[in-house]
Each structure stands twice: as structure tokens, then as C-alpha cells.
């Protein structure tokens, strides 16, 4: 069964929302992860300054993803959230803790170290559960009668723990690239020194994950064999990582962030090539998860009006706060 045009529209819109979310919230989560690796108060405040106007808006795209999935692909929404009961719980708590920590840390000297831990741990937990969930999806989600048919802790496995750690390092890499892009002086140099180690870390973790812990037999259930050209994407991803390793010396402030974005883009496309036509690998397709046409059409009108407005607003915020953040 081929997905309808409306189903493709919504699948595309949700895919875009996920990609935008991963890159945008990825860098601010990454800054939160790096935040925990320094005790220098000037660095910490400098880090928060680079994400202050953006981080809350970045989470918009996560909610757009959840809302879009519920409306356009209720079957997938039901299965994913059932399968990831605890990752979702941890994700929500992580996001809540970061949010409060961000608002309260500078209002309280006494409680500051608590909020700082909250900010670091919240960011790290959010990144980890997202990475573990992606790993669990790659391993395939068991479905029976349209409902998740596994246990609440099946998402934990050596492979998914490694993909979780991989995403923590990957977001930290994005965050370091963002700090290089948005800051100057000591903080920029500090971030620069971490870029190469983080890129190396991502490369090693992914290498171990895919050579030691991944069960390649699941790929027989995917349609990957029909799309050998799709292997170009992982190669591009590795090249992007190597580009960071080599280019980190060149002292061009845009390079680390741009290359990391390229890496995430390549990883994202790799997953799409691996999963297509499945929405829930490897049991429910995009076409069969889609809501009926009357639903997709009804929601389409909202989507074509509101999503561009949110996109323009997002771009406007980044434009207004463009350039390096300077402390005066």
C-alpha cells in the first residue's frame, strides 16, 4: 500500500520537525551537558548566555512532533509512547528540571549548586533517553493488535545504552560547536579544545555500537537491500566527523558546528533509508499508521498555516540574536 499524498505531507512535516528539534534542542542540551564539565562560573554564565534566547523555543519542535504524530499517525503515537513509557517520563522530568534550573539558578546563591546539577543532569538524561530510544527503534519495536507488545524496560540493551551515550556525546559536540560559533575569548577556546575529543568519542562509541552490539539480522526485515545507495549517508556522516577532527585546527568558528549539523543530517537520512517504508520498524508502515483521509485533511489546514508561522518566528528569533554574544 502506497501512502497518500496527505500522509506523505504529514510524514514529511513530522520528519522535518524531528530534524529541526534534534539540531536546535541538540545544541542547547549539549551546552547543558558541557555546563556540568566546568566549575568556572564565568564560563557557566557565558554558556547560558549563548542559549538564553533560544532554548525554550527549541522545545516547541518536540511538542509539534508529538502533536503531529498523535493527529496524523495515531497508531504510531500509541505504540511509541507505550514502548517508551520510562524514556518519556525521564525526558519530561529532564526538560522540566532544566527549565526550572535555568530560571532559578541566578536568583539564588544558596541553591545554585542544586540548580547547576539539575541543569547538567536534566540535559544529560534527556539526551541519553533520546539516543537510547533511537537505538531501540533500530532494533525493532514488537507490535501485536496495533499495540506495543514488549516490556517497559525492553528499550535498555547494550546497543541502546551505547546509542544513548553516543547521543549525549553528539549533543555535547553540537553544543561545543555552538559555543565556538557564539562566544569568543576564553570560552571559545575552551569549547574548541573539546570539539576534537567529542568528535572522536562519537566516532568510537558508534563504531563499538555497530560492530559489537548491533544485531544485523533485523535488517533482513527492513527494505535496506533495495536501497544500497543509502549507504552513502553513513559514509557522509563519518566523513563529517573526520572533517571536524581535521578541521578543528583551522580556527574557523563556523566549521565545527556546520560539520556537526552535517553529521546529524547524514545520520538522520541514514535512519530514514533504513526504516522506510516503516514508521514503526519493522512492523507498521507509514501508510498503515496514517489516520483516515478525513483526519489528515482536517489537520492539514492547521499545519500549512501554523507550521510556517512557527518556522518564520524561529528564524526571526535567531536573526535578532545573531552573532557572537559579548559581555559588556
Amino acid at each position: 500500500m502506497e501512502p497518500s499524498h496527505l500522509a506523505l505531507f504529514w510524514a514529511g512535516a513530522i520528519a522535518c520537525a524531528i530534524l529541526v528539534y534534534v539540531i536546535l534542542d541538540g545544541f542547547d542540551l549539549g551546552v547543558g551537558i558541557l555546563f556540568g564539565t566546568t566549575r568556572d562560573e564565568a564560563h557557566r554564565v557565558g554558556m547560558l548566555d549563548t542559549i538564553a534566547p533560544f532554548w525554550d523555543g527549541n522545545e516547541t519542535w518536540l511538542v509539534v512532533t508529538a502533536a503531529g504524530l498523535f493527529a496524523a499517525f495515531p497508531d504510531a503515537y500509541a505504540v511509541f509512547l507505550g514502548a517508551f513509557y520510562f524514556p518519556v517520563l525521564l525526558l519530561l522530568f529532564g526538560l522540566i528540571f532544566r527549565g526550572i534550573a535555568f530560571e532559578f539558578r541566578f536568583r539564588s546563591e544558596r541553591m545554585r549548586h542544586v540548580w547547576d546539577w539539575g541543569f547538567f543532569l536534566g540535559s544529560t538524561v534527556v539526551a541519553f533517553v533520546q539516543g537510547a530510544a533511537i537505538g531501540a527503534i533500530m532494533r525493532g519495536i514488537p507490535v501485536a493488535d496495533g499495540q506495543y507488545a514488549g516490556g517497559s524496560w525492553d528499550w535498555l540493551h547494550p546497543f541502546t545504552i551505547l546509542t544513548g551515550i553516543g547521543l549525549v556525546l553528539g549533543y555535547a559536540l553540537l553544543g561545543a560547536g555552538w559555543l565556538v560559533l557564539k562566544s569568543e575569548g576564553e570560552l571559545r577556546d575552551w569549547a574548541y579544545r573539546r570539539v576534537r575529543w567529542l568528535a572522536l568519542g562519537v566516532l568510537i562509541v558508534l563504531l563499538v555500537a555497530f560492530t559489537v552490539t548491533f544485531d544485523y539480522s533485523v535488517l533482513a526485515r527492513s527494505d535496506l537491500s533495495l536501497r544500497p545507495w543509502g549507504l552513502a549517508f553513513p559514509v557522509i556522516g563519518v566523513i563529517a566527523l573526520l572533517g571536524i577532527l581535521v578541521g578543528a585546527r583551522s580556527d574557523r568558528d563556523r566549521l565545527p558546528f556546520a560539520m556537526t549539523v552535517l553529521f546529524f543530517l547524514a545520520a538522520f537520512l541514514s535512519l530514514i533509508v533504513m526504516f522506510w517504508p516503516y514508521m514503526i520498524p519493522y512492523s507498521v508502515t507509514v501508510a498503515s499508521a496514517a489516520a483516515p483521509a478525513s483526519t489528515l485533511r482536517f489537520f492539514f489546514y492547521g499545519g500549512v498555516v501554523v507550521l510556517p508561522v512557527i518556522a518564520v518566528y524561529t528564524i526571526a528569533v535567531y536573526w535578532v540574536f545573531r552573532g557572537k554574544v559579548r559581555r559588556g
Binding site: V45, L48, D49, A52, P53, D56, G57, T60, V63, V64, A66, A67, G68, F70, A71, P74, D75, Y77, A78, V79, F80, L81, G82, Y85, F86, V88, L89, L92, F93, I96, G99, I100, E103, F106, R107, Q147, Y148, A149, G150, G151, S152, A291, P292, S294, T295, F298, F299, G302, G303, L307, V309, I310, Y313, V317, F321, K324, V325, R326, R327, G328
Partner: protein
């Protein structure tokens, strides 16, 4: 009641949704209040209104921010704990709730930013227009929530294909006859809640002898608005009761604690319903009044719970009590607002301290009424999650174990206790300090982060900040 994944999931949903609804209803009311007071300022040019506006704008910003946080949790609850519901009715409920999300983000991306950050950058008329649009936006947001819930109460405009409930007529789904009553009922509840908070804040300042001019504005406007709105609300409440009688007779019987069919039926004013023995203890009842309330005459036959199969009977204790709590809160609002206006006309409002204490202590009655009303509606709908179509027990996520939900429920309680104490403390300090100065945004913040608006600091992270383009 067995403490299984199903029952714990119900408690969890009730918990997170009850703590969520407080903020959106406050926000809806505050947005309307801000538009009103800004309109009054524009019409009269009274600078005092500007100060009152700036003060409540801060409270509004925090309330909006808290609503976003607790709302994100709601976006996931339907899937994590009620995945069969999500799967079977997602093609109807998904877009309705999705439109709510889109409405909120649309608002945040447009007029909300103007309202929080644009005072100096746009003309006064456009600023007022933005305030009105934010108020309309919050109401539109609630439209989708009420459309969704009204469809769950009285499902219309759907067909059933392969065990899935799918949309056939969106007009019927979104604007059914009960939606036309319940949406206004919710909006008026939000306005009244805020009206009582504005009144209570004014009374608090008068009692403490601070911010006297601002306090007078709050007392007069708050008491005036509540006095006008409460009769309309009681009327809509009555109509809502009649829809329940018509479409959900079992819920109506539960609210009335009417175990047996009666002719003429008496009205149980107060009692302790005994669900095990199916009778009322310590009942205070008035003969024939039950028939009059339900049917408009003194002799009508009124259906009791015994007429419904045991499997289809809702619990009685919670709907019965929560309904009476809601009505009681409504009567308190009526008494406070009308007596307050009486005192005002006699010129004794600000000197009658016992009344001011009463008005101050009445600040939570709107919130209590809203939560009690929702408990009446939701518990009374049991054992159905979608009335007549899907039982709540059949809607729960099948893979969940009891321990899973126990862990998540306890975690939600702990996390909410923390978040709530900070949010509530924050709002409390804002209200305590009162209108002290002009509201000014912290440099480097956007409309996506309204919490930061309510405080003053040199930068969003506490240091001084300069952005170079």
C-alpha cells in the same frame, strides 16, 4: 478498587490534568482581564490602569509559563497510559488536541510576543489589539480542549470502521449541542476564577494598607465583573445539567445520589452516599424538588441508578460531592460579589474589614469550582472513557505493569510538588509585592520564555549582556 495499572493510570491522569487545568484557566481569565483593563486605559487615559495592567501582566507571564510546562506532560499522557484510546480514537482526538497545540504556538509566535515585549514598539491601538488577540487565542485554545472532551462525553459525527472510531462529520464533532454549553461554561469559570483572584488581591492590599489606589481598581473591577458574570454562569451551569440529564442519565442520577427511581423525586441536598449498600446516609432532602429541578414540574418521574446495568453505573460519591462543592463555590462567589457591590454603593467597602478578609480568603474558590466541576464531569462519565463507545478499562496501555505506573505516579507527585512550590511561591511573591514598577522584559528573552518576564534582571542569566549583530 484494585490498585492495578488501570486504576493507577486513572489516578495519574486525574493528578496531572487537575494540576494542569489550574494554570490555563487562570491564563484565560487573566488574558481577558488584561484586555479589559488595557481597553479601559485606552478609553480613559488613566495611568493607574497602566500600572495595574503591568502588574497583572507579570502574573499572566508566569501562569502562562507554568501552563506550558504542565501542558507538555499532557501531550504525552494519552499515548503513555491510554494507548488503546489513542489508537482507537486518535483520528478524532489527535487533531482536536493537535489544533490546541498549534493555536498555542501560533499565539506564542505572534501576539504574545507583542504583548510581552512590544509595548514601546507598537502604537497603543495595536498594543490593545494584540491584547485582545491574545485573549481570543487563549479562548480558541480552550475551544479545542472542550471540543475534544465534549466529544468524549457525547460522541457525535463519527463512524466505526474495523473497531476504530473515525471522523465522518467534523462540524458535528466540534460544535455539537453540548459543546455550545460546555465551552461558555468553562470560559465563564475561567473569568470568574480570575475575577475572584483580582478581588482577593485588592482586598489583601487594603487590609495591609498598601497600594491603596491600585487595590481600589482591583476591588471595584473584580467585584463588578464577578457580580455580572456569576448569574450568567449559574444559568449555563443549569443548561449543562440538563444536557447531562438528556444524554447521560446515569451520570445525572449519580450526581443526585438517586439510587431508586422516584415519582415525584426528592432532591438530596447533602448526604454521604454509601456505594456498597446503595443508599444515602445522613441525607438532608426536600420532597418533590428533584422532579422540579430535572423536569420543571413537581410530579415528574426521575430515573434512579437501579435502572442501569451494574456495569454501566458510574461511581456516586465523587460526582455527588464534587458537584455540590462546585455549586457551593458558585454561591460563595455570588454572595461575595453582590454583597461587596452593596458595600461599595454604601461607600463602606474599604472599611468593612471582616468582608475584606472574606474576599481575600475567597481567592481559591474559582479554582476549586473548576476542579470540582471537571471531577463531576469526568468521574460521572465512568465507566466509559468515550461515552457508550469505549470503556475506560479497555483503553489503558496493555503493556503497562502495575509497578510501572506506581513508579511514574510517585515521580509525578514528587516532581510536581517541586515545580508547583516554586511556581506558586513565585506567583505569591509577585502578588505580595504588588504593583511596584513598570513591567520591563529582561534583555535577551523572547516570548517563548515568559517566566523570565516576571522578574527584573540585567540579563537572562544574571550578568550584563550585549548582543552584537
Amino acid at each position: 478498587m484494585e490498585l492495578d495499572a488501570f486504576f493507577l493510570s486513572r489516578i495519574q491522569f486525574a493528578f496531572v490534568v487537575a494540576f494542569h487545568i489550574i494554570f490555563p484557566s487562570f491564563t484565560i481569565g487573566l488574558a481577558a482581564w488584561l484586555a479589559t483593563i488595557e481597553g479601559a486605559r485606552l478609553a480613559t487615559g488613566n495611568a493607574l490602569y497602566r500600572r495595574v495592567f503591568d502588574f497583572w501582566l507579570k502574573v499572566f507571564a508566569v501562569s502562562f509559563g507554568m501552563g506550558v510546562v504542565t501542558g507538555i506532560v499532557m501531550a504525552f499522557q494519552f499515548g503513555t497510559n491510554w494507548s488503546v484510546l489513542a489508537q482507537k480514537t486518535g483520528s478524532i482526538q489527535g487533531p482536536l488536541l493537535g489544533y490546541e497545540t498549534l493555536t498555542a504556538f501560533m499565539l506564542e509566535a505572534t501576539f504574545f510576543g507583542v504583548m510581552l515585549l512590544g509595548r514601546e514598539r507598537v502604537s497603543p491601538w495595536f498594543y490593545f489589539f494584540a491584547c485582545c488577540m491574545v485573549s481570543l487565542g487563549t479562548m480558541a485554545s480552550s475551544f479545542w480542549i472542550l471540543a475534544n472532551n465534549s466529544w468524549m462525553q457525547v460522541p457525535l459525527g463519527h463512524t466505526i470502521v474495523d473497531g476504530r472510531i473515525i471522523p465522518a462529520d467534523w462540524w458535528a464533532i466540534t460544535t455539537g449541542p453540548i459543546m455550545r454549553l460546555r465551552w461558555p461554561h468553562m470560559l465563564f469559570a475561567a473569568f470568574l476564577t480570575t475575577g475572584m483572584c483580582v478581588t482577593a488581591t485588592g482586598a489583601w492590599y487594603v487590609l495591609r494598607g498598601v497600594h491603596r489606589a491600585d487595590a481600589r481598581v482591583m476591588l471595584h473591577w473584580g467585584l463588578g465583573l464577578v457580580a455580572v458574570l456569576i448569574p450568567i454562569q449559574l444559568f449555563f451551569g443549569h443548561l449543562t445539567g440538563l444536557y447531562v440529564l438528556h444524554y447521560q442519565p446515569a451520570k445525572f442520577a449519580a450526581i443526585e445520589a438517586r439510587w431508586k427511581t422516584q415519582q415525584p423525586a426528592s432532591e438530596v441536598l447533602l448526604a454521604i452516599p454509601d456505594e456498597a449498600e446503595k443508599r444515602n446516609l445522613f441525607a438532608i432532602q426536600i420532597p418533590k424538588l428533584g422532579s422540579f429541578i430535572a423536569s420543571g414540574n413537581w410530579t415528574a418521574l426521575e430515573t434512579g441508578l437501579e435502572t442501569f446495568p451494574l456495569d454501566d453505573q458510574p461511581p456516586v460519591l465523587i460526582p455527588f460531592l464534587s458537584f455540590r462543592i462546585m455549586v457551593g463555590m458558585g454561591l460563595i462567589m455570588l454572595a461575595v460579589s453582590w454583597f461587596g457591590n452593596f458595600l461599595r454603593l454604601r461607600g463602606r467597602l474599604e472599611t468593612t474589614r471582616w468582608f475584606l478578609w472574606g474576599a481575600f480568603l475567597a481567592f481559591p474558590v474559582g479554582f476549586i469550582a473548576i476542579i470540582a466541576g471537571w471531577f463531576t464531569a469526568e468521574v460521572g462519565r465512568q465507566p466509559w472513557v468515550v461515552y457508550g463507545l469505549l470503556r475506560t478499562r479497555d483503553a489503558v496501555t496493555p503493556s503497562l505493569a502495575t509497578d510501572d505506573v506506581l513508579v511514574s505516579l510517585i515521580s509525578y507527585v514528587l516532581v510536581y510538588a517541586l515545580v508547583y512550590s516554586f511556581g506558586a511561591y513565585y506567583i505569591f511573591t509577585l502578588l505580595r509585592d504588588g504593583p511596584t514598577g513598570e513591567a520591563r522584559a529582561i534583555p535577551g528573552t523572547t516570548a517563548s520564555r515568559p517566566m523570565a518576564y516576571a522578574d527584573t534582571a540585567d540579563s537572562a542569566t544574571g550578568g550584563r549582556l550585549r548582543i552584537d549583530g
